[in-house]
């Protein structure tokens, strides 16, 4: 007797109106995953993608071989950058609601990723991000005013109003130009890293892609080229469980962890508690050192949860339980690092409250300054900038089009 075939369409464990359900998720204790030698062959590391590297335990203690043993100053720097990122995000969303810009994307709950990774890399390592790693720029202490000018598309916007808010480009801070297309910069990181290797340089590249976006061809190109040419690059998958309204099972996450994609390319794959600042830092450092020693690429899956809406255009209560974020078993990255510092005796609630106020003031001041240079549509932009930078110099036909616009209007 023949079985009747049937089409399988995966569904998340819970939808609006249902209770959040993370019962299928295994959360191993902190500190149990061994840390392999940096020079270990990838073929010895095939079990790692199925583990979950965690350093901070529930009490806020750092455990196990992956503990990066960071000085308290670094931890405080990380805490500050994460908190500043969150404060900044909150503020920007409010400005968007006020119409001062058209669009914003928050990184709430994922701040450890941009921040800890920035601190584990060198400042001149080039980062090819997705739109949720603003923590990188904050941790690299790039002026907030500059970011807000881009978000406002005002006259100090270095990108000349051409880009949607948050699609930054900051060459000086090792932050590659972003685009609205997801995924298409992921293989650029590999090309950039190949170029660095070609030039006998010492700089490496790092790239970020979302769980949903792993399905694009660009993900596969990046892994293939990184594997073949042993490019000095870190390839990060930020698995925040959601891609707009689509849960990670639609990208294949129910069938195998994204970190295990590394195996088929002969790369190490690390699966990391993305809300654990120390684990993220340690895994990144491991991959960076490996890359710097000509050991090639590492794929890191950062296991986290998109606590915010996808963007200011999105309403997640339409497709997932309202309280799913608070049920997320791996907690909040800021809370967890704060608790760790307190356990270490290097931080206190009072200091934290003071820091929060300080950062709010900092953001507030930056907004004030940026507003002086204008907000979206507060003034007309010069049409000329629209025709520049299409090519190195403005060709005749664009010169004519500019004149057409100047004389006729639009």
């Amino acid at each position: 007797m023949k079985t009747m075939l049937d089409l399988h369409v995966p569904e998340p464990p819970a939808r609006p109106g249902e209770a959040p359900d993370f019962s299928a998720m295994q959360v191993p204790p902190a500190g149990v995953v061994p840390r392999p030698d940096i020079d270990a062959p990838a073929s010895d590391l095939r079990e790692l993608p199925f583990e979950l590297i965690r350093v901070l335990d529930d009490e806020g203690r750092a455990c196990g071989e992956w503990n990066p043993q960071l000085p308290a100053d670094t931890l405080r720097r990380g805490l500050r950058a994460m908190l500043l990122t969150r404060t900044f995000d909150e503020r920007m969303v409010r400005l968007q609601r006020q119409g001062k810009t058209s669009f914003y994307i928050k990184s709430t709950g994922e701040e450890a990723i941009g921040v800890a990774q920035a601190l584990a890399l060198n400042r001149d390592d080039m980062c090819f991000t997705s739109y949720r790693q603003q923590g990188l720029l904050v941790a690299r202490e790039w002026p907030l005013v500059d970011l807000i000018c881009q978000i406002f598309n005002n006259r100090k916007d270095r990108l000349k109003g051409r880009q949607l808010p948050i699609l930054y480009s900051v060459r000086e801070a090792g932050y590659f130009s972003m685009s609205g297309n997801v995924g298409s910069r992921f293989p650029h990181a590999v090309g950039w890293a190949m170029a660095s290797a070609y030039k006998h340089d010492t700089k490496i590249a790092s790239a970020w892609i979302g769980d949903g976006t792993t399905a694009e061809g660009d993900f596969h190109y990046a892994l293939t080229f990184a594997s073949v040419y042993r490019a000095p690059v870190i390839l990060n998958v930020v698995n925040n469980q959601w891609a707009i309204s689509t849960f990670q099972g639609i990208a294949g996450g129910n069938e195998a962890p994204f970190a295990s994609r590394a195996i088929g390319y002969g790369l190490p794959g690390l699966r990391v508690d993305g809300n654990d600042f120390l684990a993220v830092h340690a895994a990144t450092r491991w991959a960076a050192e490996r890359a710097r020693r000509n050991g090639g690429a590492t794929l890191i899956e950062l296991f986290t949860y998109r606590a915010a809406a996808h963007s200011t255009s999105d309403d997640p209560t339409k497709y997932r339980p309202q309280d799913e974020a608070s049920a997320w078993p791996l907690g909040d990255p800021i809370e967890r690092l704060k608790q760790h510092l307190i356990v270490l005796g290097e931080w206190s609630e009072a200091q934290h409250t003071a820091l929060q106020a300080e950062l709010e003031a900092e953001v507030q001041a930056a907004v004030k300054e940026a507003e002086q240079y204008g907000t979206l549509h507060s003034e007309d932009s010069d049409p000329q900038t629209m025709f520049e930078d299409v090519f190195e110099s403005v060709p005749p036909h664009l010169q004519l089009q500019l004149e057409e616009l100047r004389s006729i209007g639009s």
Binding site: S179, H377, S381, L398
Partner: protein
């Protein structure tokens, strides 16, 4: 009959076809439970089931490829690409596979797929949520390309596209989803409810592919346009008082060259309006075709009003977007000669 905006009309077309034909199925990014980022498939999964309306991985090439495979089996898949800007990762599948499967297999296999995608600007989408790639598809033998300008046409054309036995690229001007935008971004938006084409039959009907519509009859000059620019052109004509005949192409390929030629033989003048950038945009083909067909009737150069040859900028959106001022200017110029 119901009053529908374009989103509702498209939704109704898909609902009708899911109901009529068990071989129709719908997938794409976020189209399932959520109903699509523009809500075009809202409610369809709940009504027709997860087997027939479901989410797809973020891989436009994979989405089109899977649709081609399903088409070859005998299904009639309708896929959504979230923004027309993101069709490009699927470009090879459309050109090298969907468009020529029938040809190369001598008719053994076909790809009766419909690729829906919102296109065009005017919603502050910046460079990658605003593009109009229609010209690219019109260069590919074996693809049909459609762009409706109102809810009534949208539903009738989408049904015809789904029933068509060849692949159809169905581009939806997202600026028209909620109302017939006339290019004046600083005036209040008119809803479709106030427009005659916002009255849409609830049931099945088709509008044949390949037939243009005369949106406004006139004698002085012919305006060739489609999508959002239809409404911009009508606004411009109203404003300058020139007695233009405004043709809404609706289907770009196959092109209704007869309706176009007849009009130009009458008016002797032509202005082409599209939002896509100028060089090698679809206006080039329109202009050259008109010239080939009607050279001795032309009294003035055929002019193009188009997006500039730059990426679609964010803050300068209304300087990029071809508005009524530019259309009026072109109309006046062709009338001078």
């Amino acid at each position: 009959m119901s009053s529908m905006n374009m989103v509702q009309a498209l939704n109704s077309a898909m609902d009708v076809m899911l109901t009529r034909d068990p071989d129709v199925l719908i997938f794409g990014e976020d189209v399932g439970y959520f109903g699509g980022v523009f809500r075009c498939t809202a409610g369809l999964q709940a009504k027709h089931g997860r087997r027939r309306v479901f989410d797809a991985p973020i891989a436009e090439g994979g989405i089109v490829a899977a649709a081609v495979g399903m088409g070859a089996y005998g299904l009639r898949p309708v896929v959504e690409i979230q923004f027309a800007d993101y069709i490009l990762p699927a470009f090879d599948q459309l050109v090298s596979e969907a468009s020529r499967l029938r040809y190369r297999s001598g008719g053994e296999f076909t790809a009766p797929i419909t690729v829906r995608s919102p296109c065009g600007g005017g919603i502050h989408g910046g460079q990658t949520h605003s593009q109009s790639p229609e010209a690219l598809f019109t260069h590919i033998s074996g693809l049909k390309t459609v762009m409706p300008s109102n809810p009534y046409d949208a539903k009738g054309l989408l049904i015809a596209a789904i029933e068509d036995n060849d692949p159809v690229i169905f581009l939806e001007p997202k600026r028209l989803y909620n109302g017939p935008f006339d290019g004046y971004h600083d005036r209040p938006l008119q809803p479709w409810a106030a427009h005659p084409a916002g009255e849409v039959p609830d049931d099945y009907y088709r509008i044949e592919l390949g037939k243009a519509a005369i949106a406004r009859a006139g004698e002085a000059v012919t305006v060739l346009t489609y999508g959002t620019m239809l409404h911009v052109s009508l606004a411009a004509v109203a404003e300058c008082g020139i007695d233009a005949e405004v043709i809404d192409l609706r289907t770009l390929f196959p092109l209704d060259i007869e309706t176009i030629s007849a009009s130009i033989r009458k008016t002797g003048r032509c202005v082409i309006v599209h939002e896509a950038s100028r060089t090698s945009g679809f206006g080039a083909e329109l202009g050259q075709s008109v010239q080939e067909q009607c050279f001795f009737h032309l009294e003035a150069p055929i002019l193009r009003v188009t997006g500039w040859d730059t990426p679609y900028p964010h803050a300068q959106e209304w300087q990029y977007f071809p508005g009524p001022k530019r259309v009026v200017h072109a109309l006046k110029r062709v009338m001078e000669d």
